[in-house]
């Protein structure tokens, strides 16, 4: 069994190594016809750029993106500065060098990777999946009898912020940086999943498709791990199935198929303000131009945020979204499960959390207000502030860096819910509803708590669950995403997530059950 695990690990690492090496490999050869197409498609008017590419790129072999990308970038830069100098603003190219390099790369990939997509898929994704499953499946036997299996979490490098954790950290952060800021290096990855993309949407894959596909693969494999680890706990089994379903069907398949049907790309479960660009001008325009379905999406998006989300939170708590439906939550609960213990439980982080998350919510609301104002009045500034630059700032700082790079990249060090806890504006909104108007609570079982601290340690949202449990107080914190792990790891059966009458939901107690009835009444009355 152990041997199978080790072999699996090796296979996984080989797949990962190939995947990691691919961005800098490959051959690119841009032919004249393709370039003319690009020029036409992108409506490029810069003669300088066209000439420079014709001279320096077309018909030449480039070994790897590292050699192609600078040529394309500098061609754009040189051409643009020339145009600006000559005040030929209509010729300036607004596509960034990286995006242009990605575009050129995508169209000009030749050589082994581009010609052997299926095989290369197998050597990366395929090996990764097989290796990971070989590593995970033997746990059915190795973990022994079903029950909580957290043995060794704080002894192992990977889960105790050791060197493996730091390697994973570096890998994840770099991966997100490439995805958001250096898409040209993702071009070779897109080749691997072209066949899949084409079979779904009819189009070749872009780097976001790679991400979407990978997200589903990672979640599925890690969900298998969840099923094995928590096989005694039906709540975890059902919940994991739910997040997996919503990710694969709603976030991945439906939007791709909608594109095939000439509809707008839309994830029906992605609610504003998490879906922060829902009200951006380009999106509204696209929806309004897409006929009936566009209008439906527009209405759905608004109803989802204003009615469905809060009503569901009233009945079930914010968990229905955060740990049952949401994609960010889905990754956190599968890939992130081994890291959940790293969220800080200190009072200080709670303070930081409240400032940050409500700050982001405010930011999102103000930005959206400006966006709508600009949309309806058709003025691009408010009080001299450009709406566009506020949107860009939000997209960069919150959308890319916070939600992506920090949100997932920091899993191995700061736990799996950094984004959900400190950043997500939707979570902040749901939190208000959960705290003040909801039937959800985690009931504390009378006086049974022994203050062991398992619940607090494994709460991914950094809630000091024990602080409530040992006082016999129910937990009604706005940040609780209802993952149910505190209840799972409690060795004394103290915690139960449940939806019940609002009355009696909050039960401050000074003296705990088990004591003399008079004493409890005396002390708890005031």
């Amino acid at each position: 069994m152990k041997a199978i695990k080790n072999l699996g690990l090796i296979i996984f690492l080989i797949g990962l190594a190939i995947f990691t090496a691919i961005p800098v490999l490959g051959t690119f050869r841009l032919d004249q016809g393709t370039f003319d197409e690009i020029v036409k498609e992108k409506n490029i008017k810069s003669d300088g750029f066209i000439q420079s590419i014709n001279e320096n790129v077309v018909g030449k072999d480039f070994k790897g993106m590292l050699s192609l990308s600078p040529v394309v970038s500098s061609a754009i830069d040189a051409a643009n500065s020339q145009h600006r100098k000559n005040k030929e603003y209509n010729k300036v190219i607004y596509t960034s060098g990286h995006d242009m390099a990605a575009l050129v790369g995508k169209k000009s990939g030749t050589g082994f990777i581009a010609q052997n997509k299926g095989l290369m898929w197998f050597f990366t994704f395929g090996l990764g999946i097989i290796g990971a499953l070989m590593f995970i499946l033997p746990n059915v036997i190795l973990l022994g009898k079903k029950g909580i299996k957290n043995n060794g979490i704080y002894h192992e490098s990977a889960t105790n912020r050791g060197w493996i954790a730091w390697m994973v950290f570096i890998f994840l952060v770099s991966f997100y940086l490439v995805l958001y800021f250096r898409p040209e290096f993702a071009v070779n990855w897109t080749f691997l999943v072209d066949p899949i993309s084409e079979s779904l949407s009819g189009n070749p894959a872009g780097h976001w498709f790679v991400y979407g596909f990978m997200y589903c693969v990672v979640m599925t494999v890690m969900a298998v791990r969840m099923y094995i680890k928590y096989r005694h706990n039906m709540y975890q089994v059902v919940r994991t199935t739910s997040v997996l379903f919503f990710q694969i069907v709603f976030a991945f398949l439906i939007p791709e198929i909608m594109v095939r049907l000439q509809m707008p790309y839309y994830d029906f479960k992605n609610a504003f303000p998490l879906d922060y660009d829902f009200f951006f001008q380009w999106n509204l325009k696209e929806l309004l131009n897409s006929g009936g379905i566009g209008l439906f999406i527009l209405v759905w998006g608004i109803v989802l945020t204003l009615v469905i989300v809060p009503v569901m939170v009233y009945f079930f708590g914010k968990r229905w979204y955060c740990s049952w439906v949401c994609g960010c939550g889905g990754l956190a609960e599968t890939l992130g499960d081994p890291y959940r213990q790293h969220s800080s439980k200190s009072l200080f982080s709670w303070k930081v959390e409240r400032w940050l998350i409500h700050g982001v919510l405010l930011f999102a609301i103000v930005m959206t207000g400006m966006t709508l104002y600009s949309f309806f009045t058709e003025s691009s500034t408010i009080f001299g502030i450009k709406t566009q630059s506020v949107q860009n700032t939000y997209s960069l700082l919150i959308g890319a860096i916070f939600a992506g790079v920090i949100g997932t990249g920091f899993y191995p060090i700061f736990g799996n819910r950094v984004w959900c806890r400190f950043g997500c504006p939707l979570a902040a909104y749901l939190g208000f509803v959960q705290r003040f108007k909801s039937r959800f609570r985690i009931t504390t079982n009378g006086g049974q708590c022994i203050s062991c601290g398992n619940c607090s340690t494994y709460c991914e949202q950094g809630i000091d669950v024990r602080a409530y449990a040992q006082k016999g107080e129910n937990i009604v914190r706005s940040s609780c995403v209802g993952c149910g792990i505190c209840s799972a790891v409690c060795p004394r059966g103290v915690l139960k997530l449940e939806n019940g009458p609002e009355e009696g939901r909050i039960n401050p107690t000074e003296v705990l059950l088990g004591n003399d009835v008079d004493l409890m009444e005396l002390v708890n009355k005031k």
């Binding site: 089994v237 009072l347 022994i450 203050s451 059966g493 019940g500 003399d516």
Partner: protein, 448 residues
């Protein structure tokens, strides 16, 4: 300002301190020798098993004590001088008090076995014991067999700990079945099976005779009363605990096995109190033992005593008994009194149900004549404390409890429910035709 000094920073001492602070402005000092800060003793096992780090066992952040003006002194009290209201600490230091709370907990029993003080022989009680275990049994190469002596709750925890590092474990249990002085036989039997499932070499009805040393004064084997010699490098002594009160011997404070206290938790000397594991009631309260060495009672004594010290004298009057534990993967809860065959009185009858394949069972105790519900043990099913507490207060009969069992279920959502199976067995055993009532929030939240 009145100076309250507490010896011992365990759950009882700390609870008392916290509640005194809530109720008053008195000066509070806690002296304790084991650790700088309060930690949860019950969680020691999880540190060795790698579920938590030691810092996670500390329920309060380090700034808590200063903020609440609870002074912490790390020192050992060697003597108490009640007359001068003075404590003697190590190196001749002293401390004066106005009121004293003794909350010094327990220490592991040693029954005078030959070799009990050898290296590699230890109990499991303190942080130091944990460190010792980490040093002596870091992995299965350094420790190729451990023998645990004494089949109680701490013994099985120690076995689980060692097994988490795949160290082979032999478990010597004096009783013919695990913990059968407390558990009825069906349950005890199920735990026997579960222990073996975890590849623990359970030796029932077996006593320790002596521990043999090697040339370095380290334990190398144990000899049992079955004539067996078992080679090992670690011996865990977990045959119960006794109050940790040796330092009080000549103080004039009345001692039995523990510090003798009245219902107000006061010793024979006015203004000196004892709570937690080290306190011994003159008369047992109800079915309770005079010394109650569990977490919850330590906490409850702390809560009650704080009231008394702050001018609202309260007797320690614990409500209905409850407790819980975990045997490897099986959670156990108990409410009210369920006695084992060895200890139960004549009028107590049991209804037992066990799942056909899973390690799940319950035992319900009731009065043979009146059918009054006396208590319940559950294994692998969580129950709602408040509901059982209420049913016990209301003196419900066992039929009622069986019908409304769904109200009491506390398992996580989506778990399988067994009330139907339980009641059908109950009906066939008791010749009744009861049916399970649907869970009702209204009943659950109605105050008795």
């Amino acid at each position: 300002m009145e100076h309250i000094v507490i010896i011992g920073n365990g759950i009882s001492g700390v609870t008392a301190a916290r509640h005194i602070r809530k109720l008053s402005d008195k000066k509070i000092t806690i002296i304790s020798a084991e650790t700088d800060y309060f930690f949860s003793r019950t969680a020691l096992m999880y540190v060795y098993m790698g579920h938590m780090k030691f810092e996670h066992t500390q329920p309060y952040e380090n700034w808590f004590w200063k903020k609440n003006r609870i002074e912490l002194v790390k020192d050992y009290v060697t003597q108490v001088d009640p007359e001068n209201k003075r404590l003697v600490l190590t190196e001749g230091k002293t401390m004066d008090f106005d009121k004293l709370i003794i909350a010094t907990g327990s220490k592991p029993n040693k029954f005078g076995w030959k070799g009990q003080d050898l290296k590699g022989v230890q109990g499991l009680y303190s942080k130091q014991d944990l460190d010792q275990l980490e040093a002596d049994a870091p992995n299965k190469d350094a420790c190729n067999r451990a023998v645990i002596v004494g089949g109680g709750l701490i013994g099985i925890e120690l076995a689980e700990m060692l097994r988490s590092r795949e160290i082979p474990v032999t478990f010597l249990v004096r009783e013919e079945s695990f913990w059968n002085g407390v558990l009825p036989k069906g349950e005890s039997q199920m735990i026997n099976e579960h222990i073996k499932e975890h590849h623990i070499d359970l030796k029932l009805g077996t006593n320790l005779v002596e521990i043999l040393p090697d040339e370095n004064g380290r334990a190398k084997a144990v000899v049992t009363d079955k004539g067996e010699t078992i080679a090992c490098n670690l011996v865990g002594l977990t045959a119960g605990v006794t109050p940790n009160i040796d330092f009080l011997k000549d103080s004039g404070i009345a001692l039995g096995r523990g510090v003798k206290v009245d219902r107000f938790l006061e010793t024979n000397i006015k203004g000196i109190y004892a709570i937690g594991d080290c306190a011994e009631q003159h008369e047992p309260i109800g079915n309770r033992r005079p010394i109650e060495a569990v977490w919850y009672t330590g906490r409850m004594m702390g809560e009650a005593l704080a009231q008394t010290i702050c001018g609202k004298p309260r007797k320690y009057s614990p409500g209905h008994w409850f407790n819980s534990a975990k045997f490897l993967d099986i959670e156990y809860q108990t409410y009210g009194w369920v006695f084992s065959e060895r200890t139960k009185k004549e009028h107590e009858s049991h209804f037992h149900w066990r799942h056909p394949s899973e390690k799940i069972c319950i035992t319900v105790a009731y009065d043979k004549d009146s059918k009054k519900f006396l208590g319940i043990n559950t294994f692998g099913i969580r129950m709602r404390h408040e509901i059982f507490d209420r049913w016990l207060t209301e003196e419900r009969n066992v039929d009622y409890v069986m019908q409304y069992l769904k109200d009491a279920n506390f398992d996580p959502e989506f778990y399988s429910h067994y009330e139907e199976q339980i009641i059908s067995k109950y009906n066939s055993v008791m010749q009744t035709s009861l049916s399970v009532k649907k869970k009702s929030w209204k009943r659950i939240f109605s105050k008795a």
